[in-house]
């Protein structure tokens, strides 16, 4: 299977921020979620992918084309949307649809009409009267109706109300029907990522903490609750991402969890009450906080 995105050893240095050794692979037909807190490097990574920023070192291949040389060819089949994308506010959506259609012969007019209905957008109203959610949906419509092979969306659900968010996610899910189409989307909403993505790339402080199958990633973590009395230093040897105690109740959040760790906990004199899987959100928070703790 062809990889639609291949970033190899990407580095980019700014005064106060460095994107370090980014390696990222997205196979055709998959959806990848790019997660990380604000400032983690999600948008910079996406801008490098879109050829908007040049990396200091490393290679960028999109749909089999090397950037920046084959940028024009690659981008014809890529749909890109970011928050700072602007529509012409004195024109309406019909005008925009005609405009985009002029550049892209593969424009699917029936699909565009269907999306108009689904997103409940008024095609004759000037864009300046649109709400934020309506503008996001309008931009997405303009991208989707081109049926690009690769969609790159920077925070597509940020700032949307729950209904608009679900409408956007539904259309992203619909892309899955075609195994030749792929999506990379960034989000700090872990629920969106958890629900739709096949794989996850977790960026923090300009580095990739994990880039893998989402099920494998989530399954490595466990939250363990125990009771009893033990020495915190002895428990810290298990290297939990998070260790808290309140009275006789303990909570450990453990990455790369192995069942043998439970024996080690019991050996410290604690009784294991509960071993639970963690949501992507809990893992996200535990990882970022752990990282911050080590720095300071």
């Amino acid at each position: 299977m062809q990889n639609v995105i291949q970033l190899t050893d990407i580095n980019k240095h700014y005064g106060h921020f460095t994107l370090e050794n980014i390696n990222l692979t997205l196979p055709a037909g998959e959806i990848m979620g790019l997660v990380g807190v604000n400032g983690a490097g999600k948008s910079t990574t996406i801008r490098i992918l879109m050829g908007l920023i040049e990396a200091d070192s490393g290679t960028v291949d999109v749909l089999g084309h090397r950037l920046p040389d084959a940028q024009v060819t690659a981008k014809r089949q890529v749909g890109f949307a970011s928050e700072d994308m602007r529509l012409y506010k004195y024109q309406n959506l019909t005008w925009h649809m005609d405009f985009v259609q002029g550049f892209y012969p593969e424009w699917d007019a029936d699909y565009a009409q269907m999306l108009l209905q689904k997103f409940r957008l008024n095609p004759t109203q000037a864009i300046k009267g649109f709400s934020h959610g309506q503008r996001v949906k309008a931009s997405l419509l303009l991208l989707l109706a081109r049926r690009p092979r690769l969609l790159i969306l920077d925070e597509p659900t940020t700032g949307l109300d729950p209904v608009a968010r679900s409408e956007v996610l539904e259309e992203l899910a619909d892309i899955l029907r075609d195994e030749n189409r792929s999506v990379l989307f960034s989000s700090h909403n872990t629920h969106d990522v958890e629900q739709l993505s096949d794989s996850i790339t977790f960026l923090h402080d300009g580095r990739i903490l994990a880039s893998e199958d989402i099920e494998c990633f989530v399954n490595k973590w466990r939250s363990v609750r125990c009771t009893g009395h033990a020495s915190p230093t002895a428990l810290a040897e298990l290297k939990p991402a998070h260790l808290r105690q309140n009275g006789s109740v303990w909570q450990l959040k453990i990455d790369n969890f192995q069942p043998s760790m439970l024996e080690a906990i019991k050996a410290q004199g604690l009784e294991v009450v509960e071993v639970m899987r963690m949501s992507l959100e809990e893992i996200f928070i535990a990882t970022v906080k752990k990282d911050t703790r080590h720095e300071h």
């Binding site: 998959e30 899910a173 958890e194 739709l196 899987r277």
Partner: protein, 131 residues
């Protein structure tokens, strides 16, 4: 009719297990009879709005459990000879195993457990008619 599953984001089980449970429900209810051709993985993922990998994982679990069979290049079918009754028994056994596990955890002995179960059965007002 397009097949679509109803999942919950507040359910703490992994998404693929919710898919497994719902497919079992469909088989038990007779919606998906023996030999029924399951929707393709991509189709069900798009309709249910979950990732392809989630549905793939669920299908492979169901296959390991012997509930569905997958023929390369031709999709998956509900396995022949998976009686609805057998599946119900299997499900009930699973719940019984959980009950026993809980009893162990709380240090409840067999005798007390039997008494509590007998009490609960007595308090249940309308037992369903036996099949």
């Amino acid at each position: 009719m397009t097949d679509e599953l109803f999942l919950s984001q507040t359910d703490s089980r992994p998404m693929y297990l919710q898919v497994v449970e719902q497919i079992k429900l469909k088989i038990m209810a007779g919606d998906w009879p023996n030999g029924y051709a399951l929707p393709s993985i991509r189709e069900l993922a798009a309709a249910t709005k979950v990732s392809v990998i989630t549905i793939k994982r669920a299908y492979s679990e169901l296959e390991q459990a012997g509930l569905i069979v997958t023929r390369p290049g031709r999709g998956s079918l509900v396995a022949e000879g998976i009686g609805q009754g057998a599946l119900r028994h299997q499900e009930l056994n699973h719940h019984i195993a959980q009950l026993l596990e809980a009893a162990d955890k709380f240090g409840i002995d067999n005798h007390t457990l039997q008494q509590q179960l007998a009490e609960a059965l007595k308090q249940r007002q309308t037992p369903p008619a036996s099949e």
